[in-house]
């Protein structure tokens, strides 16, 4: 059981990381914790958790069909684990969706607000219904343990055949509808993948994936619990899967032929390589390998095929689910570690429940039991460290919670808790204005600047005394600081107040109390306001308000605060809005376009700025 315990420990640690990230995701929002963007609104959570999760659970309907419809009774021993996998798979899908949805508390809206045109609506309903069916199919197993449930159990067993049929029909619908989801985006999905028969392809690959998943799960749990794997059954499953994969291959290739998209293969895009990898893993390798009896009858061979096939189809789902969309060619989406952590945690949680169910209920013909759990078992001390951590329950609780908190704490430490505002912004340094009389202002050097007639503005604003109308930095003995000295980044929040410059003239560290209250935290709220000392800095009647200490960004400081204020005051005083170029340069769009908005600095060299003629009447009011 040591192998199982260690495996569970790892799962708990993964859940620990996921729990921490989950907290962050709801506290900070999607933007801070994922790499999703407007170009890639669906990421790994949809591509893997939902699309692949549903497909991975396909083993449930395939095996129930095999046993209850086609009456192949020998597969009966692996029906229960397959149905359980399906059930937990769907629960995991729903759980993972809670993290992905922007408004997860509205997930029930699908029941109330209908839009039958939407494939997603159909998928949602089918998943909900199928979940119910799976619950009813699976319920008799745990009900074996509780005598008071025997009546319900009997009813459900009688209903089994209708339930199985309903389950198959529902599965058919939503497995294929997952493909229908993408029918609406013919211009987004890459032509190698987009086809009107996407639903059919999805359905067939889901069958194959279901079979592979049953194989994988059976072999893996056999390894985990050191049981003998049911290779004889799996051999038959592999043999059937071979035909499914072959069908898939034929359909896929002929679809490409019929649509005439084969020439895309020569286009040299990275998507083509992806296509080859995918096709090989989904169809070619499993088909070839499963054709050899030698491979099918060996656990290792089956495991290899299963892993290849499962990975291939998961890759296919991720590809269709967003990776190979046309618009993604521009932006690179790689899932953030936080996204992967949540995905892993959801899977780990489902696995833990699976293991618990296996140990607690009769999923297998023989229930794997921990020898230490038996009341008459003599305690066995660990041979290496000589410890006995007690009955399984207690040991589990102390050990797993230990792993959980360690993992969660590390995750908490490495999640970036900075607010979303300042995350993911590349610093765009702001440069000083250049030139003489006519200033070339192009703060972030993106080529879109403006020529600013400095002297002209000074003249019109009232000569020397007007400097502080624009240059309002409150640095010592400073009259005309360039904006860029403080706002050295275009969009990052920047502090207009230089702390060092204030503390040293006042006497260094000891001088804190000169400005700050003695008893409270020395932060912005406890400090004296600028105008407490700098009384002369603000001219009489100035429009500048010094209550704002921290500009949200340079952009805001320049274009929201200034212009808004100017416009407001102009309206109040019934004067023309001088802060807008077209107030004066009215009807001279072409001129403005040609002369004022100069494309680059070199245009300025050796030229004197000629301001366009103004409509004097407005300015002189």
């Amino acid at each position: 059981m040591n192998r199982v315990r260690n495996f569970k420990m790892i799962l708990w640690m993964i859940i620990g990381v996921g729990a921490a990230v989950g907290v962050a995701r709801f506290l900070l929002g999607l933007g801070s914790t994922t790499n999703l963007s407007d170009n890639t609104p669906w990421g790994i959570w949809i591509g893997f958790d939902v699309m692949s999760g549903v497909a991975l659970a396909a083993g449930g309907f395939v095996l129930t069909a095999t046993v209850y419809i086609f009456k192949l009774e020998k597969f009966h021993s692996i029906v229960r684990p397959a149905v359980l996998t399906a059930f937990l798979g769907y629960i995991a899908v729903a759980f993972g969706l809670l993290f992905d949805l922007g408004l997860p508390w509205n997930i029930w809206h699908m029941i109330v607000f209908w839009n039958p045109h939407s494939p997603l609506f159909e998928v949602g309903w089918c998943v909900m219904l199928y979940l119910t069916v799976l619950l009813m199919e699976f319920f008799p197993v745990p009900a074996e343990e509780f005598s008071f449930l025997s009546k319900i159990r009997k009813v459900l067993i009688k209903l089994r055949l209708p339930l199985v049929i309903a389950g198959i029909a529902l599965s058919t619908l939503h497995q294929s509808s997952l493909g229908s989801l993408f029918l609406i985006m013919p211009y987004n999905v890459h032509p190698l993948w987009y086809t009107p028969i996407l639903p059919v392809i999805f359905f067939i690959s889901a069958i194959g994936l279901g079979l592979m998943m049953v194989t994988f799960e059976s072999l893996f749990t056999a390894w985990l619990y050191r049981r003998k794997p049911e290779v004889d059954l799996l051999e038959k499953i592999g043999s059937a899967a071979r035909w499914v994969f072959m069908t898939y291959l034929v359909i896929r290739v002929s679809d490409l032929l019929i649509r005439g998209q084969l020439d895309q293969l020569g286009s040299g895009q990275w998507q083509v390589k992806m296509f080859w990898v995918e096709l090989a893993m989904v169809a070619v390798i499993p088909t070839v390998m499963l054709s050899f009896r030698y491979v099918r009858t060996k656990a290792a061979g089956l495991m290899t095929v299963a892993i290849t096939g499962v990975t291939g189809i998961v890759l296919n789902r991720i590809n269709v689910g967003g990776l190979v969309h046309i618009n993604r060619g521009e932006t690179v989406y790689l899932p953030a570690w936080t996204e992967i952590a949540i995905t892993a945690a959801v899977i780990a949680g489902a696995s833990l429940v699976f293991l618990y169910m296996i140990e607690r209920f009769n999923i297998w013909e023989t229930r794997p039991t921990d020898p230490d759990a038996s009341p008459t078992q003599l305690p066995h001390f660990h041979s290496v460290d000589g410890t006995w951590l007690g009955t399984p329950g207690i040991s589990a609780r102390t050990k797993y919670s230990f792993g959980f908190i360690i993992a969660a704490a590390f995750a908490f430490a490495f999640i970036s808790w900075e607010p979303a505002e300042s995350r993911g912004v590349d610093p765009t340094p702001v440069h000083q204005a250049r030139g003489g009389d006519t200033l070339w202002i192009d703060g972030n050097r993106d080529g879109f600047g403006t020529a600013f007639a400095h002297k002209e503005h000074i003249r019109r604003n009232g000569e020397d005394k007007s400097c502080s109308k624009c240059h309002h930095m409150n640095q010592p003995r400073d009259k005309n600081t360039a904006c860029s000295q403080c706002h050295n980044d275009m969009y990052l929040p920047s502090d207009a107040f230089k702390h060092d410059w204030h503390s040293s003239p006042n006497g260094g560290k000891l001088a804190c109390v000169e400005c700050h209250d003695k008893a409270s935290i020395r932060d912005i709220d406890s400090a004296k306001k600028c105008d407490y000392c700098h009384k002369n800095l603000i001219p009489q009647g100035s429009l500048i308000k010094i209550e704002t200490y921290e500009a949200n960004s340079y952009a805001e400081a320049m274009h929201m605060v200034c212009i808004d204020c100017h416009v407001q005051v102009a309206v109040e005083k019934e004067k023309p809005v001088l802060s807008r170029c077209e107030t004066c340069h009215e009807g001279q769009r072409d001129l403005v376009d040609a002369d004022v908005l100069i494309k680059s600095k070199s245009d300025l060299v050796g030229k004197r700025m000629v301001l366009p003629p103004l409509s004097r009447s407005k300015c002189n009011d």
């Binding site: 008459t376 102390t398 919670s401």
Partner: protein, 256 residues
């Protein structure tokens, strides 16, 4: 360089240590509660004298009478020590900024003078406790390594913090002390849930745990014997060999 390390200590490392401390304390808190529920479920006798237990617990949590019956000086020192230990890290102005950064809110700070004096008191109490453990023979007999380590470890952040906020020292020395201050404080936070300092959350449960512990599950003794494979073993030894044979005269008579 030092600033970077200090920044790391106040940033990710601080978050890690804080999370470890809070999660670790929550863990042992929950484990104790779950353990108690499980124990109660095992027991046939579920009667718990709540009134008595709560009374006892409160009398130890707010020690007014019982603490000063024996060794009053020691009790007084330890009481003051604990008060300072809780107040200074939580309510010092400089720390409040840290809390505000991490949790987003902060209460009002204690006055600087009071905080300084309290820090000094904690340092002195800490030294006194250490010396008492060193020179009081029974305490020395039962002390483990961690018992000596804790008072010393607690002195470090308090002392460095005090010097940093009050002493006039060179900027380099300031940074070095700050580094020690930050890292030792982080170390303390990590160690809290895994050492005896866990009593900060577990102490209110002590009386209840003891009360539940004194109630045994029915038939446990028989099951123990069954597990050990001694079902048919008599509960005594027929002809025992005595440890101190010279001291024990051979007699079989029944004693009372």
């Amino acid at each position: 360089m030092l600033e970077t390390w200090i920044g790391f200590g106040q940033g990710p490392l601080f978050r890690l240590c804080l999370a470890l401390m809070l999660l670790g304390l929550t863990r042992i808190f929950l484990l104790t509660i779950i353990g108690m529920i499980e124990a109660l479920r095992r027991n046939e006798d579920k009667i718990i004298p709540w009134k008595d237990l709560i009374g006892k617990t409160i009398s130890w949590l707010f020690p007014l009478k019982r603490l000063f019956n024996k060794r009053p000086v020691y009790s007084l020192i330890s009481l003051i020590f604990h008060i300072g230990l809780i107040i200074v890290p939580l309510f010092l102005a400089a720390h409040l900024l840290l809390w505000k950064n991490v949790t987003g809110f902060a209460v009002s700070a204690i006055p600087k003078l009071f905080a300084d004096n309290l820090t000094l008191t904690v340092i002195i109490c800490s030294i006194l406790l250490f010396l008492m453990r060193l020179f009081y023979q029974p305490a020395r007999a039962i002390s483990r390594k961690q018992d000596y380590l804790w008072p010393i470890l607690l002195i470090i952040p308090f002392l460095t913090g005090y010097i940093c906020s009050n002493g006039s020292i060179s900027p380099n020395a300031y940074l070095l002390l700050m580094l020690i201050h930050v890292y030792s404080a982080n170390l303390i936070m990590v160690m809290i849930p895994f050492t005896k300092i866990a009593h900060c959350v577990l102490m209110p449960f002590s009386q209840l745990v003891t009360a539940i512990g004194w109630k045994f599950p029915k038939g446990a003794g028989g099951r123990v014997i069954e597990t050990l494979g001694l079902k048919n073993r008599p509960t005594w030894v027929e002809k025992p060999r005595l440890v101190y044979e010279d001291l024990t005269p051979e007699k079989e008579e029944v004693s009372v």
